[in-house]
Symmetry: C2
Subunit: 335 residues, 2 copies
DNA sequence: TTGTAGGCGTTATCAG
DNA sequence: CTGATAACGCCTACAA
């Protein structure tokens, strides 16, 4: 609770001088008085009040992290990457869960502005750009998009290359001999889902398979969605030897339904996922999937954001990190 | 970027009057001027600066959440409970990962103080109370302990009753006919691990089994620790029909080793966990375990903290939430 | 109902 | 090398 005034008084100097040593201004303070002030600060257990400092410097050293749900297994690693990196550069992180609701997103953006965060790492659920995002831009608040595209040109952002990832894993299915491949995609309005689907499509074309010959279902990126989609697929007749899922959670749901119906994985049906969340390496059979560089995405996005905040130029506006194929036991070679 | 001054000028009133409408002071402003000011605020897109406000009110409406690692599957649900509750009451949450390191814990506490958070939800890795915790108390910064005990009397805290949970599940093993039960515990200096162990011990006593007859290993609460502990157990000879693990992650590790060695679960060995993290319901066999009320713990702790902050009395200093036995497929009835 | 003035704890500017 | 002093944006007696 000691303030700069208390320190100044006790050290017999002006607050200006104390401020100088607080901020490590090398010049302008004699070694002697610096020592004295330092000692007084220790004695008084003085800690500078960042609120007061922020009021004048216009910097809070605080970032906002907006994401749908930290309890969704995809995000903790990202959050950790963000927080670690922020911490390295002397920033803290305010966590915001939007549940993919535009109103909560707006609300958080507003309080983040009111609290004068220096910037925002932003996994938006809104696309295309809506009013509150534009306001963010007008406000000149630096922000970096994370994982979710927004259909507007050249917003700084970090993504994992879903197109490439889904292409890789579909191609792997073809190489394992599969020709009849079903697909469980994400919500069709999500850009991420679209990219993954396009990667799937591209691999299909490469192997000369028409889209008409393929069963496609849509899910909500959750276990429940995978279950429902797979139930529909089963109903339509099991006219495929493999299912590519747009994320691991849906793959897990799909596998549960398949097992319940008496199908063995991968003997009867091969299944692939996307994300490589922790449980994918632990379920039986272990899921073949695509690993997203989550921690790295968080870290890279945060580094970009801090560059932006500190007025440095970005080498690239959009960074796409390549996913990595993780081959485990849920895909069987056929014929 | 508009300030209260801009609004005042444009509305032809003093900043005092504007301040009154910002803070919804019902009296002291005529309906007419209030309307006018509200309109100007809209036009100017005015948002109050919380930093400035905080400087005078001494309240930031921000909480700190200190935990070991958000990427540890135990914590996201808790964090979500904290953030949701904070949000309801108008607070934001700064996320801090300590990796169970005292130095990081100290560092975060310091910046949290400098940033004048109103209070801290705190999963400490330090026990007994060390210097920086005492400073927190001296500082009169409200805080609520979460999940980890501290050996000092009556600090406000929320815990899941590990004693009771482990008692429940051990008792369940006995009821399923098991008599030779091995135990993989947490790090012996952790109070949580101690409580769970005591619950195990108590059930043993209740069923007349001596501690000497029981194989006990210690792990680090991670998958690797479960693997290592189980490897040691196997080496000592498989003199048990069931293993109770102090958390799910170690149970998963233990199960992997058992499977690798050719044992079937639960036919050859029954395994139980503790925590009920998401993957426990998805691995094969599904793990019988004890569900911790994570989200609720976060929510309850945050409500306590906010009471503390707002000067209300706490009905209870320590709240223990009862875990819930979750029976799945990793335990077999014997004889 | 409205306004004036002082202060919150810092930093920044400019003199000495 | 050191120190007044004026901001920063807002709240809050106290006056009018």
């Amino acid at each position: 609770m000691a303030t700069i005034k208390d320190v100044a008084r006790k050290a017999n100097v002006s607050i200006t001088t104390v401020s100088r040593v607080i901020n490590n201004k090398t010049e302008g303070v004699s070694e002697e008085t610096r020592e004295r002030i330092l000692k007084v600060m220790q004695d008084l257990n003085y800690q500078p009040n960042r609120i007061a400092r922020g009021l004048v410097t216009k910097r809070t050293n605080t970032l906002g992290l907006i994401l749908p749900d930290i309890a969704n297994p995809f995000f903790p690693e990202i959050a950790r990457g963000v927080e670690d990196t922020a911490n390295i550069y002397g920033y803290n992180v305010i966590l915001c869960n939007t549940d993919d609701r535009t109103d909560k997103e707006e609300l958080y953006i507003n309080v983040l502005k009111e609290k004068c965060v220096d910037g925002i790492v932003f996994t938006s659920s809104v696309n295309p750009v809506s009013e509150h995002i534009k306001q963010l831009m007008d406000y000149k608040m630096p922000f970096v998009l994370l994982d979710r595209y927004m259909d507007i040109d050249h917003l700084p952002g970090v993504y994992s290359d879903g197109y490439d990832g889904m292409y890789q894993i579909t191609r792997y299915l073809f190489e394992m001999g599969h020709r009849d491949i079903a697909y469980i995609g994400g919500p069709s309005l999500s850009a991420t889902a679209k990219h993954r689907y396009e990667g799937f499509e591209y691999a299909l074309r490469e192997y000369g398979v028409g889209l008409d010959d393929v069963l496609i279902e849509e899910g909500n990126y959750k276990i429940s969605g995978g279950k429902e989609a797979m139930a529909r697929l089963v109903e339509k007749g099991m006219d495929f030897t493999a299912v590519a899922c747009a994320n691991d959670l849906m793959a897990v749901g799909a596998m549960e339904v398949l097992k319940d119906k008496g199908y063995r994985i991968p003997e009867d049906v091969s299944v692939t996922g996307f994300d490589d969340i922790q449980l994918s390496g632990l379920i039986e059979p272990k899921l073949t999937t695509v690993a997203q560089p989550c921690y790295e995405m968080g870290a890279v996005a945060t580094r970009m954001l801090i560059k932006l905040i500190e007025g440095q130029a970005l080498e690239e506006q959009e960074i796409k990190l390549k996913p990595r194929l993780v081959i485990r036991n849920s895909v069987k070679r056929v014929i």
